[in-house]
């Protein structure tokens, strides 16, 4: 083994004892290293700052291009931004968004998965993955990612974003015709809603769209409590009450809505029908006997007229039975027969005397309205009111 003393040269030449020289060298190297590290560190910092500025510029350009609908150009800008800061989550997310817009779903997914692997709780990434899954029609994946987004971590405005994500998943479910799941989401959302009239209105409208008028009515009422001038909420509450058969309440809300804004045709029709129902219904409480009898008679007459006109319309149209010439026993003829039986009894005196007669008359009227509605198209307002009373009764009895 050759000793350091023999080989290092300086040790013998400078008559420095062996080891000291090496220590000196290493000390010097250490000092140079520290200085060089500091210098390179400063250089790298400056360079990174410059690159960050470039990245910001590229991102801004990308956002402008994306906003202008130039997704392809935006992709180039975001990719350029990522060459400067390859882990920039904002640029990655935006790039994934642009790629999704360009229908380059695999690429978009690859970037999103990169982000997801890094932070699986990130709500924004989960939301983007959910949107991607909706584009692919993958319901289970979409729901999983939507829920991750709803319960995930939002960097800003978590409440607002969670609600927005919830609305998005509900709308997605409605598009997929998954009504029970959409209803569950709506119910889950209710407790989290802040006291915001518009949000409650939107939830109520969604409830209404899936036929849950009870929840819709209560949400509209909450919305109105928060803002009495909320016309859509008033109209919605009126509609929900109308559909639930709460005609008095419906008139109250619909009147309020009509008073504040020019009503649409549907609201007007509903208001008219509700009023007519209240004016026609013989089963309402607190009616005098005379008033009740008058209403029954009016209902009977309206039904008879409707039956007659419908029968005429039906006989004018050739039917299979008519063509064959064979005798037929249709529901309409049965009703005509019943009408003939009742005709002689439909007098106030007889209605008073026979307690079963009012029920038989109304039952006849309801059956006529029901049958003619199926056979002879749109009823007149009074007929419609009778039909509504019939359906409401049916619901109550059931």
């Amino acid at each position: 083994m050759v000793s350091a003393n023999d080989t290092m040269g300086l040790g013998t030449e400078n008559s420095v004892p062996s080891g000291r020289r090496e220590a000196l060298i290493l000390f010097t190297l250490l000092a140079i290293s520290i200085s060089a590290l500091a210098a390179v560190s400063a250089l790298v910092s400056r360079f990174e700052a410059w690159q960050n500025r470039l990245a910001q510029h590229m991102k801004q350009q990308g956002e402008l291009a994306f906003a202008a609908g130039q997704s392809s150009l935006a992709i180039t800008f975001f990719r350029s931004a990522l060459t400067f800061s390859r882990n920039d989550p904002v640029a990655l997310l935006k790039l994934a968004e642009c790629l999704r817009a360009e229908n380059r779903l695999d690429e978009s997914e690859a970037y999103l998965h990169t982000l997801w692997d890094r932070e699986p709780q990130d709500a924004t990434v989960n939301l983007e993955l959910a949107r991607l899954a909706t584009r692919r029609g993958q319901i289970n994946d979409a729901l999983r990612y939507y829920h991750n987004a709803i319960y995930g971590i939002w960097s800003s405005a978590p409440l607002h974003n969670r609600i927005a994500a919830r609305f998005e998943v509900i709308e997605f479910l409605l598009r997929q015709n998954a009504v029970p799941q959409a209803q569950s989401e709506l119910i889950a959302m209710q407790p989290d809603l802040p006291p915001n009239s518009h949000l409650h209105t939107r939830v109520a409208e969604l409830f209404q769209s899936i036929g849950d008028n009870r929840d819709a009515e209560s949400e509209f009422q909450l919305a109105l409590k928060l803002d009495r001038r909320n016309v859509p909420a008033a109209a919605g509450a009126g509609r929900a009450a109308f559909r639930l058969g709460h005609y008095r309440t419906a008139i109250l809300y619909l009147d309020a809505a009509v008073a504040k804004a020019r009503p649409d045709q549907e609201t007007e029709d509903m208001l008219e029908s509700a009023r007519l129902v209240l004016a026609t219904d013989p089963f309402l409480r607190n009616l005098s006997a005379i008033e009740r009898e008058e209403r029954i008679l009016r209902a009977y007459r309206a039904a008879s007229l409707r039956l007659e006109s419908c029968r005429k319309a039906q006989s004018a149209a050739p039917t299979s039975a008519g063509l064959n010439g064979a005798p037929s026993s249709t529901p309409l003829e049965n009703l005509v027969a019943r009408e003939r039986q009742l005709r002689s009894q439909m007098r106030p005196a007889l209605l008073d005397r026979n307690p079963e007669l009012p029920a038989a008359a109304m039952s006849f009227a309801f059956e006529v309205e029901d049958e003619t509605a199926q056979l002879c198209g749109d009823p007149a307002p009074l007929d419609r009111a009778l039909l509504l009373i019939a359906r409401n009764r049916e619901g109550v009895e059931r």
Partner: protein, 587 residues
């Protein structure tokens, strides 16, 4: 009693005590800084300096690229076409007049430093390589930064070694230590860097150098990561081999990659000497013409082939190109890199090799998926395997190619496809291109450096190939001279082994036994009569070259079993060793 005029006893003893005291103090330093240990510590500093240099190199290159080609990932405009050509002129002047040694491969120059120039790499070359590579790669020449990084590391190490006046032996080894540091920092892959330097530069596994190479590579990567982050070079989407049958698909990639590597290296091997042989004035324009060609390709819609191209490898892995586009990019990159390299522009071929491999992998994946849609491997997996395949086929470093893929991706789940692909590519490349690219370049430069591939595959002769059964009887130390005499009388041979008790061997000649008997010592036992010098012994698996010095000093060397030291497997003499070597030469 002290003599008059003499200093008192305690005062006379004081200098002696002072010397001992000083020795006692300096002994730990002396122990700590024996050259071996000093070299190890120095390796850490080499790693640090190399990493800092590589970080600056990368920043400078990136700065140049941004200034010359703009910040957009797909540069466009006239400057894309003109920048590489204009910078090519500047680079040519610098190479021809200021830094003539920067032309060519950094790997070979480091190898030459190790084998020819006693580890000497001029510091000027380091500066030249830094400057010219920054300009060339930054302007879009189709070359990579790894080879210059390797040479910058090696040059810095060499300068440091000279400065601290290392012994010639250590100075020779210091360049590969720096090379490993430079490459590790460039690739962010310490294991691959160590393997590459061992496999391609040093060519042998030596415990003495391995420690230094590993230390420098690791310290370099630690420093580099503290500045540029510790992420793997490529972000690989999740990938795994689901069905073993799919290995066949990777095998096809291996074959295609092997053939592409052959085309690539043949193109370089054919064009480089021809361009070098052209009149000197043409060399001022060669890099510019190469740059113009590359710039034109970029201007015509394929800017991906400009520069190192790592960002496009990433894009290919994320399925952002069609397979047709990937195939075109692979082909154009072979053309671009060939013209860049043969024109004498400084820069490396690691990054282009990876680029070509990744694009080829992606293209093969596309074709295979088109034909067999049930294949489950992702494009990223094929790109990764493709990178390894080209590395194995073109640079002919099979071990490094496997570890490099694993390290740059941080994904160890694809090792089987990588091994299958790389092996096939290596075999195909060997079949059609006997000389590896680095050996080819060395020979074109008029140097004769050891071919490490040949060394690696050279048959190693062992003691068992030359040993023979003992010609005469095996004598025992406890038998008498008379008994031994009688036994050797009937035997052939002149020297006989004597088994000592409880273990060990010595030898005795026929003449010695006869002389002892003639002296009347026939009744003495051999142990008391023959010299007690024990013979060294060998084992059958020892390399034959190990046996040679022992066989020179002893007429007969016993070869014994490793598991049973009393069992003699055979004997070997100098003549046996020489005869075996002669046999190899004749074959």
């Amino acid at each position: 009693m002290s003599s008059p005029g003499a200093p008192p006893l305690d005062e006379r003893a004081r200098p002696q005590i002072r010397v001992s005291y000083r020795r006692a103090l300096t002994w730990p330093l002396h122990f700590a800084f024996q050259e071996e240990r000093f070299f190890l510590i120095l390796s850490v500093f080499i790693g640090i300096f190399s990493a800092l240099a590589v970080v600056c190199f990368r920043l400078a290159m990136e700065w140049c690229r941004l200034k010359m080609l703009g910040p957009r990932i797909t540069p466009s405009g006239w400057h894309v076409m003109l920048a590489p050509a204009a910078v090519g002129l500047v680079v040519a002047v610098l190479v021809l007049h200021v830094f003539p040694a920067v032309r060519g491969s950094g790997v070979n120059q480091t190898k030459a430093a190790l084998y020819i120039y006693n580890g000497y790499i001029p510091f000027r070359t380091v500066i030249g390589k830094f400057l010219t590579s920054v300009l060339a790669i930054g302007s879009g020449q189709s070359l990579g930064p790894e080879d210059p990084s390797l040479q910058i590391g090696a040059g810095l190490a060499s300068a440091l070694g000279r400065r601290v006046k290392l012994s010639r032996d250590k100075l020779r080894l210091i360049a590969p230590v720096g090379a490993a540091a430079g490459l590790a920092a460039a690739f962010n892959a310490p294991v691959s860097a160590v393997l590459f330097v061992i496999e391609e530069v040093i060519g042998r596994w030596s415990a003495g150098i391995l420690g230094s190479v590993v230390l420098s590579a690791i310290s370099s990567v630690v420093v580099m990561r503290s500045f540029l982050g510790s992420e793997p070079m490529f972000r690989i989407p999740p990938a795994a081999l689901i069905r073993p049958q799919e290995l066949l698909a990777y095998g096809i990639l291996g074959l295609v990659g092997g053939l592409s590597a052959v085309v690539f290296s043949h193109a370089i091997g054919f064009l480089r000497p021809r361009l070098k042989a052209m009149p000197r004035w043409t060399q001022y324009f060669q890099p510019a013409i190469a740059g113009l060609l590359i710039g034109t390709i970029g201007f015509l819609g394929f800017p991906q082939i400009m520069g190192a191209g790592y960002e496009y490898i990433d894009q290919a892995m994320h399925n952002q190109f069609t397979w047709e586009m990937l195939g075109i990019l692979a082909g154009l990159k072979i053309v671009a890199t060939t013209v860049s390299f043969v024109s004498g522009t400084p820069g490396g071929m690691f990054a282009p090799t990876l680029f070509i491999g990744a694009m080829l992998g992606g293209a093969v994946s596309g074709v295979e998926r088109h034909l067999f849609p049930h294949l489950t491997g992702s494009v990223a997996t094929y790109c990764l395997v493709g990178m390894g395949v080209l590395f194995a086929g073109f640079l002919r470093a099979p071990m490094t190619s496997v570890f490099m893929v694993l390290e740059v991706s941080g994904n160890y789940s694809i090792i089987v496809p990588v091994v299958v692909g790389n092996t096939l590519a290596y075999v195909v490349s060997r079949a059609f291109q006997p000389n590896p690219i680095f050996d080819l370049l060395t020979r074109q430069d008029g140097l004769e450096l050891p071919s490490l591939e040949e060394q690696r595959e050279e048959a190693v002769l062992r003691v068992e190939d030359a040993m023979r059964p003992p010609a005469g009887p095996i004598l025992n130390a406890d038998e008498t001279v008379e008994q031994a005499y009688r036994r050797v009388q009937q035997a052939i041979g002149t020297v006989f082994l004597v088994r000592l008790r409880p273990t060990g061997w010595t030898s005795v000649s026929r003449e010695a036994i006869t002389a002892l008997r003639a002296e009347g010592r026939g009744e003495q036992i051999l142990a008391a009569s023959v010299p007690r010098r024990r013979l060294p012994h060998l084992h059958p698996d020892h390399a034959l070259e190990v046996a040679l010095p022992y066989a020179q000093k002893n007429p007969l060397v016993p070869v014994i079993n490793r598991a049973d030291l009393s069992k003699l497997e055979g004997v070997i003499s100098q003549e046996d060793v020489l005869n075996r070597y002669k046999l190899v030469e004749r074959d």
